[in-house]
């Protein structure tokens, strides 16, 4: 319905797209573990209804890593909490969350509970606060097992030891008796991962699992997470605001802004050729190795209030290429010129027209796109990631040792 540069590749299935409606490409339901359809979350507050999540849809396949990126308040954490059933009772949740075909949101609380921890695991950002300070690591792992299975304490303890081994904690047997405060930050996060996967879940929600760690430990933890994922055959929903981390772990990326996905694509496509100005802005504001000596290109302004969203595109006030239609109609998430690459932008063709889409935020010399793409092809954790170099001032000594 829109003219495109390479019209041959355009999917025609989007003609029925209702404005504001998110239509993930139809997929064989037998291969999907988790399917989220038009998930909305609203919180009543004194100031009015906060529309924290305004229609998120995605499908997750076995062993896939889906990265959800967005800045604070974009709804990325809230949407996963809604899937887990962990939101406070005051939250108003809409849409459907299908786990292997069953709608999680319409399950009885005890059915939901039997999914949590057993079929859907969760890794929290700060293991220091997410682990119980007065219980030993072993006791907490045993607790995770025995919440779902009626097995003996000894058997559960043995499983706990296996898991600590699996996540790379040395002397696992002795470490079962340790308390969280006796672990270093990285080891705590390893224990947290062990706890999330001890029941061999099909889906792991990792909510900023490396944000509280320093960069070198971060790399090790991501390594561990991916290895454990393969070991237990789980898919991961990886939530972060760190594009560098996403580049190294994700297969597909979903970019969220103001409670909505604004772009989804494979990790290579989204880093190489974003189709939405916001994504381009995020990429441009990320320090990369080839930008040394150049200014970063920040996105001006702040995200809109989720209480009174203006009509039109929520990104319009900050968008350098906004036009009149952006103020009147919110663009739906539609497939672009590439299959599986969707964007919510009236002007995605124009974004595609840029050689370097990040340059729309500040036209400067230098081409950055090529290098970023090359780097992100290496989904195995690269030895040295460019954003690390940018932060460390160019040293490479900080890599996994």
């Amino acid at each position: 319905m829109r003219p495109t540069k390479e019209s041959a590749t355009v999917s025609t299935s989007q003609a029925s797209g209702v404005v504001g409606e998110v239509v993930p490409p139809p997929l064989d339901p037998t291969t999907e573990i988790l399917r989220v359809e038009d998930l909305t979350v609203r919180f009543p507050t004194d100031d009015g209804m906060v529309h924290a999540v305004r229609g998120v849809s995605y499908a997750l396949h076995p062993r896939e890593v889906l990265g959800i990126v967005g800045e604070s308040g974009s709804g990325k954490s809230v949407s996963s909490m809604a899937v887990m059933g962990l939101l406070p009772r005051s939250a108003k949740i809409g849409g459907r969350v299908l786990f292997r075909g069953d709608d999680v949101l319409r399950m009885r609380p005890d059915q939901q509970r039997s999914l949590r921890g057993r079929k859907i695991g969760m890794i929290f950002q700060d293991a220091m606060t997410a682990l119980n300070p007065v219980l030993s690591i072993g006791a907490q792992l045993v607790e995770a097992v025995r919440s779902h299975e009626h097995i003996s304490h000894t058997a559960a303890l043995l499983r706990a030891q296996e898991m600590l081994d699996l996540v790379g904690i040395p002397q696992a047997k002795d470490r079962l008796r340790s308390y969280p405060h006796e672990f270093s930050g990285g080891m705590r996060q390893r224990a947290m991962i062990a706890m999330a996967v001890i029941n061999r879940p099909d889906v792991i929600f990792a909510d900023e699992p490396t944000t509280a760690l320093d960069v070198t430990v971060q790399a090790q933890i991501l390594d561990t997470l991916l290895a454990v994922k393969d070991e237990v055959d789980a898919a991961i929903v990886f939530i972060t605001h760190d594009l560098g981390v996403i580049a190294s772990v994700a297969d597909r990326v979903l970019v969220m802004y103001a409670g909505k996905p604004v772009e989804t694509a494979g990790v290579d496509e989204i880093f190489a050729e974003p189709r939405m100005p916001y994504t381009a802005g995020l990429l441009g504001s990320m320090p990369t190795v080839d930008l040394i000596g150049e200014r970063l290109r920040p996105i001006q302004g702040t995200p809109p209030s989720l209480i009174n969203l203006p009509t039109g595109c929520p990104f319009r006030p900050r968008c350098p290429i906004a036009i009149d239609v952006c103020a009147s109609a919110e663009p739906p998430l539609l497939e672009t010129d590439r299959r599986g690459h969707t964007a919510a932008c009236h002007r995605w063709e124009d974004v595609a027209g840029y050689d370097d889409a990040t340059s729309m935020f500040r036209v400067e010399k230098g081409q950055t796109v090529g290098l970023v793409a090359e780097d992100t092809e290496d989904v195995e954790l690269p030895e040295v990631r460019p954003e690390e170099l940018g932060r460390d001032g160019g040293t490479t000594a900080g890599g996994p040792a």
Partner: protein
């Protein structure tokens, strides 16, 4: 307790495929890590115990309390335990020397007569019963009641408080309004009415007083649960699929056990005094059995002429209440993480 445990295991890129479940890999790291672990890590429990043992008042209190229990139980015996004292609190005899105590606590170099226990060290009452045996029986009954009150009120208070705190909403409202109502009723009056409608035996009395005095602990526990349940590890437990019962018992209560233990101890001290007051008013333990409070009440008129009938049970009450209070203080200090004066 500086423990050099913050060593991130070095794992160059290889990930887990090589390490994984291979025991030889773990053993290799064992050797190097064990060398660095020369200082033993102390658990929270060990730290608490250490601080408690070093609390002088608490240790003295504990010794006194244990001594009183041992004395009260072993002297005249209790249930299957045989006593070493030759008289019982029920057998009467001839009143010797107006029932004056034969106990002479001062050794020879102080008063010349020398230390002596005599036939009836605490004296005799007006019908010639041995007052030492009577006092010991009273102490037994009072202790039994106090410990039972501590136990029952702690259980009820913890259950009510944690349910109210964790579930909130209507459950919390109903439970806490019941607590409010119970608190508005004068405790002594409530206890008197409850105690009056029973047979007046020590176990019944203990149980009944227990289900009257749990209210303050319920409020305390509710407050603690309200704050703990907002912590992230409770959310993590929910994300793990633990049910509310498991979350409360395995994740929340271990975090507030210190509050509960301290409160239980102080409740025991208060229960001793409550029982004393009740028995003094005639609502507590009923004759022919006796308790410390009942003894004081019975012989209040004899205070001017035969003061020992007042003093000995009085001293026992003070001894028990004071020692338990000291233990409670010591526990509170030991559990307080800000108490870092006594360190490893």
């Amino acid at each position: 307790m500086s423990v050099p445990t913050n060593m991130e295991p070095g794992r160059p890129g290889s990930g887990l495929s090589s390490g994984g479940l291979d025991p030889s890999d773990g053993r290799d790291v064992d050797g190097t890590a064990a060398a660095g672990l020369s200082i033993k890590a102390r658990t929270q429990g060990e730290l608490v115990l250490r601080r408690f043992v070093r609390h002088r008042g608490a240790m003295i209190g504990l010794l006194v309390f244990i001594a009183i229990i041992v004395l009260a139980v072993s002297s005249i015996g209790m249930g299957p335990i045989p006593g070493w004292w030759d008289k019982t609190f029920t057998t009467t005899g001839s009143v010797v020397d107006g029932g004056r105590p034969t106990l002479d606590p001062f050794p020879a170099f102080v008063d010349g007569d020398g230390f002596a226990v005599g036939e009836s060290p605490f004296g005799q009452d007006s019908i010639g019963r041995d007052y030492f045996a009577t006092t010991m029986r009273g102490a037994q009954q009072s202790l039994q009641i106090a410990l039972l009150v501590g136990l029952v009120s702690t259980i009820v208070g913890t259950v009510v408080g944690s349910i109210a705190g964790y579930f909130g909403g209507l459950t919390e409202n109903v439970l806490m309004r019941v607590v409010d109502v119970m608190i508005t009723i004068p405790l002594l009056l409530l206890a008197a009415v409850v105690a009056r409608s029973t047979d007046g035996s020590a176990p019944t009395l203990g149980l009944l007083l227990g289900i009257v005095v749990w209210t303050s602990l319920a409020r305390l526990v509710r407050g603690e649960v309200l704050s703990i349940k907002e912590r992230e590890f409770v959310e993590a437990a929910r994300a793990m699929g633990a049910n509310p019962f498991r979350i409360i018992t395995r994740h929340i209560l271990p975090n507030i056990i210190s509050t509960i233990i301290v409160s239980a101890t102080l409740t025991i001290a208060a229960a001793i005094l409550l029982e004393t007051a009740l028995s003094f008013l005639g609502f507590g333990v009923q004759a022919p059995d006796t308790s410390l409070g009942k003894l004081i009440s019975e012989y209040q008129t004899a205070f001017a002429t035969r003061p020992w009938l007042f003093w000995f049970p009085g001293l026992m009450i003070i001894g028990i209440a004071l020692s338990v209070n000291f233990i409670g203080d010591g526990l509170r200090d030991a559990f307080d993480p800000r108490q870092n004066k006594v360190r490893a």
